[in-house]
């Protein structure tokens, strides 16, 4: 099996699983209990929190563990909106956020908030000036993703952070795709809230964290016991949290070397596809791009059919984002780039991981042109195109 879908999820690294294992059945105590059994767990939690904080350039007491990126995003947006409602009701985000942000914004609109969804250019980028222009005196929150999950575009986060700080507006970033791949520093980038998700960097599913700058009045999203310093109820998922922190630490070990390798493979793949397949388009900026992301649209061809052909050849990839592949809507991200519907339906996302090899990419480059041609031969759109151009 060749796995080119690391943006959807990643396998748990063996060192990570090993770090988690003792906490399932042996050191299983409730981290909030007083007895010794539980102190091991409390310590494991503290260590994990410290590790995550270090990686982000934050303080341990600014890290809150959640059940994933989705909860972190929901919490940041709904929480700040609730807390700052008296100061204003306007939020700024982009058209290409993950659904965990977009649908939360839509929910907030129903609660009386006004949301500006910034347009992106044809490469999936926004400019800091767009953010500045969108600011109003009612603006209470800017939520702009660090890097896009479909097309890999990296947003100008530091500049946005600066604008937000200058205007006294809170800045949240969904860094679910960036964390583990890009060096992050919440102070350098003047980020006030940051979401991350464990399973995107070889950690366990169902784990995540929200960085909350000290002093921010973020109310709870999950009310309950006094866990997470009273801000997030629920018995702590100790094995999961230990796994997340271990995975995060490992992700940033030799990051430069890993990035160089993956990026070279990415560029090899992009060049190879361009050379071998006519009528195609790389989606997302060529350079402001995650090191592991390749996303192409192939004219006249629908994306899922390519996925199926690749799958039958043992190659796992995706079209649009994993969580919407059950739906029939074309990617809102690709539509936001200005792509016509056929192309928005015809995209293929290939996201690389540490263990992918050149041989695997070579196999893809051998098969993909055949598959695209095969689907084109079946396509009434291609037929039309050939007739018009003959």
């Amino acid at each position: 099996m060749i796995y080119f879908d690391h943006a959807a999820t990643t396998p748990v690294r063996s060192e990570v699983l090993e770090a988690m294992l003792p906490f399932f059945s042996e050191k299983f105590g409730n981290a909030s209990s007083v007895y010794k059994l539980a102190q091991v767990n409390k310590k494991a939690l503290d260590d994990a929190r410290a590790k995550v904080a270090t990686i982000l350039g934050a303080q341990p007491n600014e890290i809150y563990f959640t059940s994933g990126g989705t909860e972190a995003n929901n919490w940041a947006l709904k929480g700040m909106a609730e807390a700052l409602r008296k100061q204003g009701n306007h939020l700024i985000t982009t058209k290409i956020e993950h659904h965990a942000v977009l649908r939360t914004c839509q929910y907030l609109e129903k609660q009386g908030f006004e949301v500006t969804y910034l347009d992106v250019d044809e490469n999936g980028l926004i400019t800091p000036e767009q953010v500045e222009k969108a600011l109003k005196k009612e603006t209470i929150l800017i939520s702009i993703m660090y890097a896009n999950n479909e097309i890999g575009t990296i947003m100008p986060v530091a500049e946005i952070g600066k604008i937000a700080r200058t205007h006294g507006v809170i800045f949240h970033t969904d860094a679910v795709q960036a964390v583990g791949q890009l060096p992050i520093d919440v102070n350098r980038d003047q980020i006030d809230l940051l979401s991350l998700s464990g399973h995107k960097f070889y950690g366990p599913k169902g784990t995540g964290a929200l960085y909350v700058r000290r002093g921010l009045p973020l109310p709870s999203l999950l009310h309950g016991g006094g866990q997470e310093r009273g801000r997030r109820g629920g018995t702590e998922n100790v094995p999961g949290i230990v796994g997340l922190a271990t995975a995060l630490e490992l992700a940033y070990q030799d990051l430069d070397i890993k990035t160089a390798k993956i990026q070279a493979l990415r560029d090899y793949m992009i060049d190879g596809i361009y050379q071998r397949i006519p009528h195609c388009r790389l989606n997302g900026d060529r350079t402001q791009r995650l090191p592991n992301n390749v996303n192409f649209s192939f004219a006249f061809v629908e994306g899922e059919s390519l996925l199926l052909l690749l799958d039958l050849e043992g190659i796992a990839a995706s079209s649009g984002s994993a969580c919407t592949s059950g739906s029939l809507d074309p990617s809102h991200v690709l539509l936001a780039l200005g792509l016509p519907h056929e192309l928005a339906h015809g995209s293929l996302r290939l996201t690389l991981g540490e263990n992918n090899t050149r041989e695997e990419v070579d196999l893809l480059l051998e098969k993909l042109p055949l598959f695209v041609q095969r689907m084109r031969d079946m396509s009434p759109l291609y037929e039309d195109y050939l007739k018009q151009n003959s």
Binding site: E302, S305, L308, G326, S327, H341, M378, S379, L381, E383
Partner: protein, 144 residues
Amino acid sequence: MYSEKVLNCFMNPQNVGEIQDADGVGTVGNPRCGDIMKIYLKIEDNIIRDAKFKTFGCGAAVATSTMLTQMIQGKSIDDALQITNQDVAKALDGLPPVKMHCSCLAEEALKAALWDYAQKNQLTIEGLEPPKSVAEEEHEEIAE
């Protein structure tokens, strides 16, 4: 998520192609929904002698196109019209719920092709209504 039969029909599609001197051609769907199905029919003595298709769409769309064109080969127009989308789906051992619309598309494409045949030959086919939109959408120009 797909049955073996769907995968099989997708991997080994039958009746792909055009019929140059088709007696009826029907195109349904639009790029917005991600599926376009075009069916060509060769009809003699009220019998469908040949059926071919071109499809832009997902695996289910290709599989239903294959299945439908196989099912109608050699059938009379009246018999072909009896075939419902449910029949096509059943013949494929079922489709995932989100893909059921592909089978509807196949039924509609057939009806559109028969309507085209009827129009060309000034016939009235019992129970056949004009298709809601015969490729009413403009296909946006596709850039490289």
